[in-house]
Amino acid sequence: MDVVPYLSAVILISTIATIFLAVLSYAAFKLRDRRRPKVKKGSGEPVFFHRYRKQAAADDAADGSDPEAPK
């Protein structure tokens, strides 16, 4: 039995699939790498949470208000 045609078909299909998946994987890697939270340059503010400030917490404690409450 001549195995070369079968081997050729297997290698051909696997090569095409590999090239296709390699390009797709690279595109996915670049896409994932570029997705970042949108933060104003230099603002340094966290995206979702209010920054904890020691002095503000002390003031809140003094006047009895909730230090966790958003200002």
Binding site: S8, I11, S14, T15, A28, F29
Partner: protein, 436 residues
């Protein structure tokens, strides 16, 4: 049969086997008498199969010189065991840092210092490392913290704080073999040796991707270093394990931080300064390899662009052999490995697929694949035996050639284009799994 004779027989059989199979494959191609009407396709085929001959010579050369280097190995105990400082730069390595330090405390060496440099971590790296700070008999552990500035700056801080003439630089996510220091230090009895590159092995062989990398590290990286070691011209001292003479580091100004492959850049600086660099397979660092495809691509993207940046930084030496003809040839070899081969591999596969689709014959693709697989299998068998690795890794060479190498080469090709167009990039730190 003595080990050295066994290796000689193996190397001889492999060289004869590669030559025989290569001739057979070329006979097959000649007998097929492919009649391709396109001049472009004919020229491309001629170029690709000439390149394949170059690759056969490359594999034979690497096998031969790594074997010669292996013959020169001296397993005698070193006569002098000077103190060594181990630098462990760490940035957010909380999951793995204690495992690394524990492996360092188990090293078989009479006097050494472990210096953990916390590069402004945002996790509990300092806390976890500090738990081990102090005197441990043969070893002392110190922890330094500094604002975040990158691995190169962290290592430079460590070099300036090191108290020994010999320095081992490693990654915070690596673990060392107990004999690492003893095996490496004897090379420094030769005053021309400025550094020793160790062997990196993958510790997490948990899936196909990491097992393929385990093979790649042994066959693709360690075999090349062993062959280069014969000429004392190792071109990349790997980040997870490099042992340096402090005076050599001082002379070249330590690590620069203008490339993303600071280890490659430092190695080239040492070579250009005239220092010789050897490879020691007994100095082993175990490291975590990426277990997911996109993490692997992230790593290879950084390696590719970093190496290109390092070559570009020293490009004047490509045509100016005043740093030594060996260094100039090393730089050309890096271009061959870093650019020419990935380009030709991707071009070859695309061209052969086109020929198969257009002219109905996949024979050139089969011969290209079979030739490279034979070379990979032979190299894998040799490396697995010489490095006393598991024989189970050898069959992975088939998958390595069929899927892995092509996928990585496609990524390298894109990364090369991005580097040519100077697209922005960042360090891209990998998430650690914590298997060490």
């Amino acid at each position: 049969m003595p080990a050295k004779l066994r290796y000689a027989v193996l190397a001889g059989l492999l060289l004869v086997g590669i030559t025989g199979l290569s001739v057979g494959l070329y006979e097959l191609l000649r007998d097929a008498q492919l009649d391709l009407p396109s001049t472009f396709v004919n020229i491309s085929m001629w170029v690709l199969f000439t390149f394949l001959v170059l690759l056969i010579l490359r594999y034979i050369g690497l096998l031969w010189f790594s074997y010669l280097n292996h013959l020169e190995r001296d397993d005698a105990e070193p006569t002098n065991l000077p103190p060594i400082t181990i630098l462990v730069p760490a940035y957010n390595e909380g999951t793995v840092i204690q495992g690394s330090i524990r492996s360092l405390l188990a090293l078989d060496y009479p006097r050494y210092e472990i210096l953990v440099i916390d590069d402004g971590s945002k996790d509990d790296t300092t806390l976890k490392a500090s738990a081990y700070a102090g005197d441990h008999g043969r070893a002392t552990v110190r922890v330094i913290t500094k604002p975040n500035g990158g691995k190169a700056r962290a290592l430079n801080t460590g070099i300036s704080q090191a108290t020994s003439e010999f320095i081992l630089c490693m990654d915070g996510d690596s673990a060392l073999h107990p004999q690492t220091l003893r095996r490496a230090i004897r090379h420094f009895e030769d005053p021309a040796i400025g550094a020793v590159a160790g062997s990196v092995k993958v510790v997490n062989r948990t899936n196909l991707l990491s097992s393929l990398q385990a093979l790649e590290y042994i066959e693709g990286l360690n075999m090349v270093r062993a062959a280069q070691g014969f000429f004392r011209l190792v071109n990349i001292i790997p980040g997870p394990i490099g042992i340096f003479r402090k005076s050599a580091l001082d002379k070249v100004g330590g690590y620069d931080h203008d490339t993303f492959a600071e280890d490659c850049d430092l190695t080239l600086k040492l070579l250009l300064e005239g220092w010789q660099i050897q490879y020691e397979p007994g100095s082993i660092a175990y490291t975590e390899a990426p277990e997911k495809m996109l993490d692997l691509l992230k790593q290879r993207y950084r390696w590719t662009r970093g190496i290109l940046q390092a070559i570009s930084k020293h490009k004047r030496r490509l045509v100016d052999p005043r740093g030594g003809i060996g260094v100039t040839l090393t730089l050309w070899y890096m271009i061959f490995e870093g650019i020419a081969w990935p380009v030709m591999n991707v071009f070859g596969n695309v061209m052969f697929v086109f020929v198969a689709a257009r002219y109905g014959t996949a024979l050139p693709l089969v011969i290209w694949w079979a030739q490279l697989t034979v070379l990979d299998l032979a190299a894998a068998l040799y490396c697995v035996v010489v490095e006393k690795e598991s024989l189970l890794l050898v069959p992975y060479a088939i998958f390595y050639r069929a899927f892995f190498a092509l996928t990585i080469d496609v990524a390298k090709l894109f990364a090369t284009f991005e580097e040519l167009f100077k697209l922005r990039m960042d360090w891209g730190k990998l998430e650690r799994i914590g298997r060490i």
